[in-house]
Amino acid sequence: MTDTALPTDVRPGRLGHSTLRPDGVAKVQGTFQFSGDLTADGVLWGATLRSPHPYARILRIDVSGAWKINGVEAVITAADVPGVMTYGLIDQDQPVFASDVVRFVGEPIAAVAANHPDACRRALDAIVVEYEVLEPLTDPEKAVDGSFEPIHPLGNVFRQQRIVRGDQTIEGPIVVEGTYELGMQDQAFLGLEAALAVPDAGGTGVELHVATQWLHEDRKQIAACLGMADEKVRLVLGGVGGAFGAREDISLQVHTCLLALRTSRPVRMAYSRHESFLGHVHRHPCRIFMRHHADHDGRLRRVEARFVFDGGAYASTSSAVLVNGITHAQGPYKCENATVDGWAVRTNNLPCGAMRGFGVVQACFAHEAQMDKLAVAVGLDPLEVRLRNAMETGDRLITGQVVESVAPVQRLIRELAAMPLPGEPVGGHDRDPMRLPGGAGRTADVGNVRRGIGWAVSIKNLMYSEGFDDYSTARVRLADGVATVKFATAEVGQGFVTLAGQIARSVLGVDNVVLDQIDTQVGSAGSTSASRQTWMSGGAVDGACRLVRERMFERVALLHGVDPLGLVIEGTEVVDTVSGLRVEVSEASAGIEFDETFEHHHRPTEDLDEFGQGNCHTAFAFAAHRAVVDVDPELGLVKVVQVATVQDIGRALNPLSITGQIEGGIAQGVGLAVMEEIIQVNGHVKNASFTDYLLPTFLDMPDVVIGLVEEPEPQAPLGAKGVGEPPTVSSTPAVVAAIRDAIGKDLTRVPVRPTDIVFG
């Protein structure tokens, strides 16, 4: 049943209230146990030997030296993998350990376990690997055109997909085009990869505590590589310090389990920051050509596009990222005709996969630059051209799919335009030089600075696509007025642990909710990604709570001789709307346990056909951003002053939590716009540290002004859309548009570098 009514009561702890995180105080005080803090009696340390070459043939691996190091208990290579030798989320093309060829800098070759991290380090140093170094494939266009020999038996193309819709002959009368590029962004979560594996006696199974985004998918892949039945591998969520997509793929999971099973002792592994940059997937670098055909009044007639996503050495989710990118090429605008071609290819660069926005960040950067060009070409204000084309519920996408989601694009734009601009001039009323571009470096004076304003609007799909049934499961028990909620939903910082409690309190009328351990002892929750857990796991907890409530109402009805259909929850009471009977929930659930499990499935989706047609997505959310930047054109330095946003959220279940997602998403979007990039030269990584991979500091973070559009989504179990990704999708193009506005140059690449501003 869909309940889309906005909350009338905002009783503390219930839906609509800005309830605080249950783990918030522990995190602030430093007592929260992250997965890197896990340990056990008799624990060994694990460490990984990695390839120094982007592409090389392995001629010989000699591990005998490692065994001579005092304290070493295990040394393992590909020969020690008992099950399937490769893994992967979609295609299983990535070796647990490379044995014949290495395909990226950082690819694992061996792992050791020892009684001390220093012994691990010495053991890794003592392993001899002889390579025949090969010329790496680093230009994705050479994978597209087939001019480079296959670097993997499965070839150099992960997927090619076209979208062909409508009249292919439409040209002009207004034509704008451009080629856009995005560099490789890292998720840069603060809690590094870490796990603790504890083997069962006799080595028949293993329990893995790990920071991940999807326990059950990890388990499936780990069990296959270990050659064990799924149920022999039990996963428990370790404390997660951020994810943003980088924990969707396996990193150290199989290695840690193998070492524990080999030594019959608990093993902990933890990556360094340097290793983390090499050891997880990143946002795809992408090159996009777009050409828009429009009428003189600015209405879109046809969009042409070509996308090339550099997927790096292994498949990960590249094929799904590609589909997300190309199916969002039109942006949140009406467009009947489209000609799109997209490629996701293999290179010897770092592997790429999921990161917040998942292919749509790339598309949005291009289509929003195009909309600004179109506005200039037809002589319209950038907002007016977007309003004229704004998508509405019932419009068709270029895939032929009808947008059934609430699509308040016009409203987002209008409300954004009415948001207050920064009240202070360049440098602020207090003339604090820190506020100027260059910040603490004190490079600029007020007279050196120009202000610019830019706009961007986005559409983002929610949940998984192309026929995937990414359901979620929850189990709820109610006894003596206490609800116990069990799910396998990975809490990665997004706040589902807060929301789950709010749902249970609201539906069941309890104040006391206990969250059970997050592990694989309940059905899958799907991944904490694709902005899906509020909808999917929220739906599962809501569904299980409603089943429990039904059972409780039946019991009350039986005991008091009333009709269960007349019963409702008010506060902490069961109330009969007919007789006025009131029974405390604690009394209604006294001496009995109601125990229900519920799976929430979203409606089915379809694969795309060869013309890119099909109902491949589940639902959509929209956002609009306005950025105000101060630029020092002579030095090419930028200070993002303010980002205002209006977001389509369906319903605010926890306004504070939404604010956190929006501010954090904008920080990540600002980072991509002006500083965040992993730099690779011929496959070698140049900045795998926080010294040189720059994230926005407090001084780089703009003021954020937020407007929420609450039009409950009929498809969504709680009326609420996911809010995690949209803030990242359109904040980047808004910031770049603002820089363009300030300096009058065509900036076609992110991150925008000082050299692009000065010499571009």
Binding site: R121, H274, M434, P437, G438, G439, A440, G441, R442, T443, A444, D445, N448, E634, L635, G636, L637, K639, V674, M675, I679, V681, K686, N687, S689, T691, D692, L694, P696, T697, F698, L699, D700, R753, P754, T755, V758, F759
Partner: protein, 283 residues
Amino acid sequence: MSVLVPTSLADALQALAEHPDATVLAGGTDLMVELNGGHRRATSVVVVNRVPELCTWRHDPITQTLRLGAGVTYGQIERDPIASLVPGLAEAARTVGSPQIRHAATIGGNVGTCSPAGDGLPVLSALNAEVELVSAEGIRSVPFASFMVGPKRTLREPGELITAITVPVVDGWQGYAKVGVRNAMVIATASASLVADARRGTVAIALGSVGPTILRCPEAEAYAMQHANFSERSLAADVVSHCCELVRLASRPIDDHRSTAAYRRHAVGVLAGRLLRRAFPND
């Protein structure tokens, strides 16, 4: 690895005499990063942050000098009373890392590491700072400009300890500006310091991150001095432009993953122009 923690200057010097190859640790903000990252190995470490003699500073109004013990932190330097004596050095101090780093990082450590990107170094160069070195054999004082001989290479001999940095308290304007891709907590892509000594009628310009050492710009300095009016704090616009060009020519930048030589050369010219205008606001 042996770690020695002397608690007096005499003990520190003796420890260094006994372990002439020892690595000196002050704030540890450079060294621990290198050790933890495996980029450097140390057989013995002498920790000097518990040596009280190194943590003092003294302003001598007679000689108009400020003697900063090597253990004085950037956190101290960015605040008064030190900041108003050497405002240019205080500006540089504020750009060093985060508050936590500045709380630990010392001026002696910055001079000891002697990276071309060291934030305090262009100011020390422009101020003609003297580096005091002490060993069991004795004490010597070396001008900063000759102390730094290359990237992270100095005249410090084994067994010697940097004990103090002495700078003049200048009557005039001094400042520092640093370009990085982030607004705080960032390594300098290019930096510059300018000291205009009104009493002596001198202008000094020093550049960071655009050469193997901190670079002075003698031609630009001479040209600026020749045309500057110190009492009116004025300098003609065309003089400023010409000085910028001379500064660009004095730089010797390289391409690396942080930026390009062309940008760095351009940037130090811009910085020099802006610093000159701050020192001489009038046309």
